[in-house]
Subunit: 208 residues, 2 copies
């Protein structure tokens, strides 16, 4: 739960910093990613410890190991928020996102925030419906990424190749963040329903 | 071992298809990724099965669980090879890589191939030296990605924003492939030495 909250906050702050070119917030997101990494290590240690001490079986065993897999997805979501902050920082004091893309990036930030919130909820409630909702949210994220690429590749694009590359990578960071949220949710659904989780990257979106 | 071999072959073929604009090879890489996903599921199932039947403890327990984590890295390496093939296919029959970038992409392909080969070897030999070598290889990959971006962002770039985006994403696919190879190697080192594995993305390279 702490990891899910931390990576949700990280991406919310990274998006804010990206849209306002706020150096301090960028640096805070980057610094605080170490806390997420630390939580990740603690989850792993506790899993090994639990396995060694309590030798859980059946459902309990699956629950404990799922913990490792969810923590890996959350840790990666933290990295992706950090990448967004680093992209903003590299362009500072200039804004990394041209006016034409502010709306779509704002929407990607909102969807990412909603998804990270649902991952936290799924972890508490183990509600498989929420897990399924994450897939619908991911479709929205994929649509947004398609919209982003259509703007980048439009003949009116006037910010050059460097800004186009930055924004394409930003799009990919949000899209991957959403994919990991889906994966984390699916792990919980798998646990509850026993149905095979899709561990591959969702169909997603190809640029262009 | 089968997964490591499969994702090594996948990236080798994807690079070949990318550089020769070979549609058939692209399609084969994409189709065969399902086999990697299938192997991934089989690893997971066998891990759960082993845990349930044999209740391993201590080192054995760690070994079995490490299997899940390595399989997740390998599965992702397969996805990244598939992404390279899809990028080539999207531009077909045109080549996705302009002449100026052929050399650097060829080198990235070679480094990726060497790294995937070492992951396979580490799995068989559990040789921690090879695990450490993977980090040096990853530094080479990061240098190559820096070189790629310096070409993309050079004032003489004459292929427009779309090709720049494609090539930036290609660079990222190879760089991430290398990161996952390092992670897989570090899991083995952790197992052998008991030293904490770095589970975060290696410092890597930021575009530009």
């Amino acid at each position: 739960m702490s990891m899910a909250e931390a990576v949700r906050t990280a991406m919310a702050h990274a998006t804010e910093a990206l849209l306002t070119a706020d150096r301090e917030i960028c640096e805070r997101v980057i610094t605080r990613d170490a806390e997420v990494d630390d939580l990740h290590r603690r989850v792993e240690e506790r899993v090994y410890d639990t396995l060694a001490r309590q030798s859980p079986v059946a459902t309990d065993l699956r629950l404990v190991i799922t913990g490792i897999q969810i923590a890996a997805d959350l840790e990666r979501m933290g990295d992706l928020a950090e990448h967004v902050a680093k992209t903003a920082l590299r362009r500072y004091p200039a804004p990394a996102v041209p006016a034409e893309l502010r709306e779509v990036i704002t929407s990607m930030g909102s969807v990412a925030d909603r998804m990270a919130g649902k991952v936290g909820l799924v972890l508490t409630t183990q509600d498989a419906t929420l897990g399924a909702e994450l897939e619908t949210d991911d479709d929205v994220m994929d649509d947004l990424q398609r919209r982003l690429f259509s703007i980048l590749l439009h003949k009116d694009w006037r910010y050059g190749a460097e800004a186009a590359i930055d924004c394409a990578l930003l799009g990919r960071f949000y899209e991957r963040y959403a994919d990991h949220a889906v994966n984390a949710g699916q792990q919980v659904v798998y646990l509850v329903t026993g149905e095979t989780a899709e561990t591959t990257e969702p169909p997603g979106v190809e640029p262009a």
